[in-house]
């Protein structure tokens, strides 16, 4: 630097304080420094105000409330929970519910998004237009509206569970369970639950073995294809996957299904697995909403792969589906993955709208009922922010690792 003569200064290359403002080399730094000091003061002032106002109101910051009984019930708890459990436990129930809907949502949103994105480029005019309509309709309406709309549709279209009830055989039900196992009601979807009897480990082991076997078969198929140019059929992989577990199950029958029970209660179907209306509404809404964004990412990704690739693949005689799966999508992934990460983050954060349909996520338990009943607003909100931060950073980290694995490898 010093070897470059400075035309703005007097030529001696020395530093004068006025250069902090006049010299473009230093001006940027000066302003950044001033801004930093201002921000520190602002944050400090807000913080001091907060502390002094809390003190003036006789309030303090304390997390002791997490140890006290929550006192309220939660309609979907995947771990043991009762109203005598602690607020911490209630928060944990909320965390699990948030993760559940986020994971389910990300999976279905990806499936929907990839399908819609690929189909939007379809040569079939009707299909392509339908997908455009889907993408535009869902991207341009706030997700809260979709959550409420889907919740309302389930409430209005589903039958009251009472329609299915026999009240211990006393009355003739108006509706029958589908196959004696499923029912769509205005409170959710009832399905059989899976009971794990003694020996279920054997089924699990057989299943894992099946998966490994299926993967090995696929590798074998690939290798013979590459070595001998012969394409073996793919279906044995499926057979290897399911047969061992099926045989173990048929011989030992450790795993059984428990059907929803329509006889024992006067209000609701009991037993079985209930996928509640709140979960359905939230899950579907988040999936179709985020799916629309993912569809656009996928479309952009596919368009980023040069047409020459498709034409070359076609010239080699590959069928369109294979061109998409083997040539276009793997390359498109490099473009698709980074925005996909932010869609997953969005979906997870949007799940905090859960209370709109009464879904007990972390925002509804810790940030809703607990916050309200204890009045510990600042503590609860800080915890909430910490939780979302950790989740978002974890998703980013995982996806970045995946991104690195599909990124262009330079050799």
């Amino acid at each position: 630097m010093t070897s470059v003569p400075d035309s703005q200064s007097d030529g001696s290359g020395g530093f004068r304080p006025s250069m902090l403002l006049n010299d473009t080399r230093y001006r940027g730094l000066t302003f950044q420094f001033v801004a930093l000091v201002l921000i520190i003061f602002l944050v400090g002032w807000l913080g001091m105000n907060l502390v002094s106002n809390l003190a003036a109101a006789g309030l303090n910051i304390s997390y002791d409330f997490l140890d006290e009984p929550a006192g309220y019930d939660i309609n979907q708890a995947l771990i043991d929970y009762s109203s005598r459990s602690t607020h911490l436990r209630a928060a944990l129930v909320g965390v699990i519910n948030t993760l559940l809907v986020a994971v389910l949502g990300c999976i279905t949103a990806t499936i929907i998004g990839v399908t819609a994105g690929v189909l939007r480029l379809s040569k079939n005019w009707l299909v392509a237009r339908l997908m455009s309509v889907y993408v535009e309709a869902f991207r341009n309406v706030p997700v809260l509206i979709w959550i409420l709309a889907i919740g309302t549709v389930v409430t209005v279209s589903g039958a009251n569970p009472r329609e299915f009830l026999t009240r211990g055989g006393a009355v003739e039900p108006n509706s029958e369970l589908i196959l004696g196992a499923f029912a769509l009601t205005n409170r959710g979807f009832y399905a059989p639950s899976v009971l794990l009897g003694p020996g279920w480990i054997a089924v699990l082991a057989a299943l894992v073995g099946g998966i490994v076997g299926a993967l090995l078969w696929r590798r074998h198929v690939r290798q013979t294809l590459f070595k001998h140019g012969k394409l073996l059929p793919g279906w044995p992989a499926w057979a290897i996957l399911v047969l061992p577990a099926l045989v173990v199950q048929l011989v030992l029958t450790p795993v059984s299904l428990s059907m929803p029970d329509v006889a024992s209660n006067n209000f609701n179907i009991q037993g079985g697995t209930l996928i509640g209306k709140p979960l359905i509404a939230l899950w579907l809404a988040l999936s179709v909403y985020t799916g629309a964004f993912i569809a656009e990412n996928v479309r952009a990704g596919i368009l980023s792969v040069s047409r020459g690739q498709t034409e070359a693949a076609a010239a080699l005689g590959l069928r369109p589906r294979r061109i998409m799966n083997l040539v276009v999508l793997p390359q498109a992934l490099r473009v698709i993955i980074p925005p996909l990460i932010s869609q997953y983050l969005n979906l997870t954060k949007n799940s905090s709208l859960a209370i709109a349909v009464g879904y007990a996520d972390i925002t509804a338990t810790l940030g809703g009922i607990t916050l309200n009943q204890t009045g510990r607003a600042i503590e609860s909100v800080l915890l909430l922010m910490l939780f979302y931060l950790v989740i978002s950073l974890s998703i980013s980290a995982v996806m970045n690792v995946y991104n690195a694995s599909v990124a262009l490898k330079e050799r």
Partner: protein, 339 residues
């Protein structure tokens, strides 16, 4: 949703330098308007009427306080609050007082740092179910799906009741009364639980009230009353004694019809004279004009008139006085003396 709570709480606490402790009454006088927190809509207690004016039993308390402090029952800015937002609104200083079917409890008084000015309705929690269910007792609700407003004492009592009786239920947490009612009528829940007065008010607004019954069990004590922030005793006293004036006025036969007359010159009851400011200087003692109580009573009438007009037996809501009768009639209403 957590974002709005966050800003509401943090920003309000951080930005309003020294809000707590300042004299609310001076703020109100300077503003010329009372900011009063009410519900988002519960017929009979606080709801806007067809022309958009707020009406109801809780609204009347706001108007009485505005009349006592500012001399104008219409100098009120009504702020709708949900069960969730009401306490944040009050503690952040967004509202000067809250009159929203709010139960006086130990932790709200001591932990949340509020000051209850008294009780304007002695209530208890009940259940409403469609008649068609054939349910006659809350104990028959085993396995039922129950709609409940979150952020309320209601949801805690509900958990306790079912636990105590060793029966199960499925809660559907909902933010506002209107939404809860909609879910209930759509059959998304079998029963709706809230304060019995609220159930009566809601039942009256349903399309066919006779198709719904309120079950006999009252599962809790819900003394509902207006509240203010802890720490500003002068303001707390103003709200407390305005409410007492309404109650005492009924006891002494001061009504909206005769209050102007009685306040124009001292009569033969010294207690009424002191209350209406024709004798002594009670108004001065709480920093208000001498005719503060007369204004409060003139705003909408005494307690009995307000009750009859908004929620009484001749309204569609049809609540009887019950516990809310004067102590002289076997009820619990009892204003300390104006002396």
């Amino acid at each position: 949703m957590h974002r709005s709570t966050f800003y509401g709480v943090l920003a309000a606490t951080a930005l309003t330098a020294g809000a707590a402790g300042a004299a609310t009454v001076d703020d109100v006088k300077e503003r010329g308007k009372l900011n009063c927190g009410v519900s988002t809509g519960l017929t009979g207690f606080s709801a806007p009427n067809a022309s958009g004016d707020w009406e109801g039993f809780d609204v009347a308390v706001c108007r009485a306080v505005a009349a006592a402090v500012l001399g104008d029952p219409n100098a009120v800015e009504f702020v709708p609050t949900t069960g969730k937002t009401r306490f944040t609104s009050l503690s952040s200083g967004e509202i000067d007082m809250l009159a929203r079917n709010t139960t006086w409890t130990f932790s709200r008084d001591n932990d949340l740092k509020f000051e209850f000015a008294g009780v304007n309705y002695y209530d208890g929690q009940g259940f409403m179910v469609p008649t068609g269910l054939g349910v006659t007792s809350a104990k028959d609700l085993d396995g039922a799906t129950v709609c409940v407003q979150t952020g309320t004492t209601t949801e805690l009592n509900l958990a306790d009741f079912f636990r105590k009786n060793n029966i199960s239920y499925e809660p559907v947490p909902i933010e506002t009364n209107a939404e809860a009612l909609q879910q209930y009528t759509a059959g998304a829940c079998d029963a709706y639980t809230t304060d019995a007065s609220g159930l009566a008010a809601n039942r009256a607004t349903l399309e066919n009230p006779s198709e719904h019954v309120i079950l006999p069990e009252i599962i809790s004590k819900e003394p509902l009353g207006p509240l203010v922030r802890h720490g500003d005793n002068e303001w707390g006293d103003i709200v407390r004694w305005t409410l007492n004036a309404l109650i005492a006025a009924e006891e002494y036969g001061v009504t909206s019809a005769n209050v102007a007359d009685m306040a124009s010159a001292p009569g033969d009851s010294p207690e009424i004279n002191r209350m209406l400011g024709t004798e002594g200087n009670l108004g001065e003692m709480i920093g208000l004009d001498a005719d503060w109580a007369a204004n409060a009573i003139a705003a909408g009438g005494n307690y009995g008139e307000l009750f009859a007009k908004n929620i009484g037996e001749d309204t569609p809501i049809g609540l009887s006085r019950g516990l809310n009768a004067q102590w002289t009639e076997g009820g619990l209403l009892y204003s300390p003396p104006f002396r």
